[in-house]
């Protein structure tokens, strides 16, 4: 069970309200794409799911359990760091700027989580890491450092690293925005394969083709609210709201 529910999520950054009551559900096994102009709050919303960002009010449930907070009398209190870390270890995250650990090879990057956090024996972790790297098409790049890999290759290692923790849910924060156009496809292909395997995914993206092809649900965000959400073909081909129309006319 890895459905994600946003219940009236608010967030303000020093007085500026960036999320204004988000209500949205991603069913287990679904792929949800968050689209919208920059500054609309989609990345912030995504980062609330693994508590990289705190919320001001409202609740986010992952697999039916509240994340980042716990009940404290008649209010909510930030959960214990240990509990947050534990929940995070089951949620994979892929960043726009890859964020591979620069002092480790591709293989070491993918082995690190299982070895250090899950206490998997090194030999087993290495075998699993090699398998994952093969799965993202990088079996021959295991000994390379991030600086020796192209952006697309780095991002695929980053996906393998996230998968190494055997997550129930994957978060993608503009995974192809920092890539040269000809490298976007290789990363999207890995993500499509992942979606076919039934991974629950929330993807912040500007790739409308990907959203239309892979997503089960698309949510268009603008100035901290979800303007409309639903079937990708409906939203992208026949948007109802003016703001959605205006945005899509610029990116399509």
């Amino acid at each position: 069970m890895s459905e994600v529910q946003f219940l009236n999520v608010h967030k303000d950054f020093s007085g500026m309200e960036v999320l204004k009551g988000i209500n949205f559900t991603v069913e287990s096994g679904q792929v949800a794409c968050l689209i919208g102009p920059s500054g609309s709050g989609k990345s912030t919303l995504l980062r609330c799911v693994n508590h990289l960002e705190t919320t001001s009010s409202g609740t986010i449930l992952v697999g039916g359990r509240m994340i980042g907070y716990e009940v404290h009398g008649d209010r909510l209190i930030e959960a214990h760091q240990k509990d947050i870390n534990k929940r995070r270890s089951r949620i994979g995250m892929v960043f726009q700027s890859f964020n591979l650990f620069g002092h480790m090879t591709a293989l070491e990057n993918v082995m690190m989580g299982p070895v250090k956090l899950l206490k998997v024996p090194k030999a087993q972790a290495e075998a699993e890491a090699r398998e994952l790297l093969a799965k993202v098409g990088l079996a021959d790049r295991t000994g390379h450092y991030p600086a020796q890999l192209s952006g697309g290759q780095q991002q695929r290692v980053a996906i393998a690293r996230a998968l190494s923790m055997k997550p129930d849910l994957m978060l993608f924060d503009e995974p192809t925005s920092a890539l040269d156009p000809e490298l976007v496809g290789e990363v999207l292909d890995v993500m499509k394969a992942l979606a076919r395997d039934g991974m629950t995914m929330i993807v912040v993206t500007h790739e409308m083709g990907f959203a239309r092809e892979v997503a089960d649900v698309v949510a268009f965000m603008d100035s901290g609210v979800i303007v409309e959400a639903g079937d990708p073909n409906e939203i992208i081909s026949r948007p109802q709201h003016e703001r959605t129309k205006a945005f899509l006319s610029k990116v399509l």
Partner: protein
């Protein structure tokens, strides 16, 4: 532009195939030659004076170079350097992490520490530690304002060597904190974020992700600090710790051979700093793992 349109310079009238076969000469630079002669002459004059002036007392230098008191002082100097640097590094790391904390008190205390120890001369701090017994005649563990549980005489538990270590180490900690902080801040925030997102705690992130990458930023200045510390340890003579310089002074106070004995001390200092420079280069090479420039070479 075609060949026929080339400007008719002097070379253009030559047969280019023939020109291409001629050897290339390096143009002479007379200014450099003059500088070479002048500097060379000065160097020769210097060497001549050093060798011939009996005041340098080379036979005396040779006699004392391996004197047991000199070697004993040398050992103390090395011990002071190593222990003070380790103390400085540990304090530096703690203060740097405190300085970057989001807690106002921790940040304030770290700031005050750096402010105080960088703001007063090391020589003065050293003298303070030497006179610590005046300030605190006894040291003990007890309840503030209440009774003491255990108590010692300061002069008994704080030998001069320890006072020297504290003077050097606490001061070094302040400088080291700034070096470590620069290193930690030099690691992009995305690295910590990726680590946190995987479920690593703050301490684990620091240990496995941030510090290993901060090392290559931190190491060169730490190497410089160590070399500097080796020489700075000589300040302990003001509180009478028997290091290399102190023992050197003890010898020339009796035989009045100041210059030869100071040369003895200098030779040892320069030998040690040379060794440290070589060690520094090797360690830096080891920590440059995953460096962009190195990666491109591979």
């Amino acid at each position: 532009m075609t060949v026929s349109e080339l400007p008719s310079t002097a070379e253009a009238r030559h047969d280019f195939a023939e020109l291409a076969s001629r050897p290339v000469l390096k143009r002479k630079r007379p200014g450099q030659l003059i500088a070479m002669v002048v500097v060379g002459l000065f160097a020769l004059m210097g060497a001549y004076v050093i060798v011939t002036n009996p005041g340098f007392g080379w036979p005396t230098v040779a006699k004392y170079l391996f004197d047991v008191r000199i070697l004993d002082g040398l050992l103390t100097t090395i011990e002071l350097t190593v222990i003070a640097m380790v103390l400085g590094l540990v304090i530096g790391l703690v203060i740097a992490v405190m300085r970057m904390s989001d807690n106002v008190l921790l940040r304030g205390v770290a700031g005050a520490y750096i402010w105080f120890f960088r703001g007063t001369p090391l020589l003065v701090q050293m003298l303070f530690w030497g006179f610590a017994a005046v300030l605190f005649p006894t040291i003990g563990i007890g309840i503030p304002g209440g009774p003491m549980l255990v108590e010692w005489n300061t002069n008994d538990v704080l030998p001069l060597f320890v006072a020297g270590i504290l003077g050097l180490g606490l001061n070094e900690g302040a400088y080291m904190a700034e070096i470590v902080r620069a290193g930690l801040m030099g690691v992009p925030a995305g690295q910590s974020e990726a680590s946190h997102a995987m479920g690593f705690s703050r301490m684990e992130t620091l240990r496995h992700v941030v510090i290993p990458q901060a090392m290559k930023i931190i190491l060169p200045p730490v190497g410089n600090e160590t070399i500097s510390m080796l020489k700075t340890t000589s300040l302990v003579i003001v509180i009478g710790v028997g290091d290399l310089l102190y023992n050197t002074q003890q010898i020339y106070a009796r035989n009045l051979q100041q210059i030869p004995l100071l040369i003895v001390a200098s030779l040892w200092y320069i030998l040690l700093t040379t060794i440290l420079s070589l060690v520094q280069a090797r360690i830096e090479k080891r920590y440059s793992r995953g460096n962009t420039i190195q990666a491109r070479k591979a």
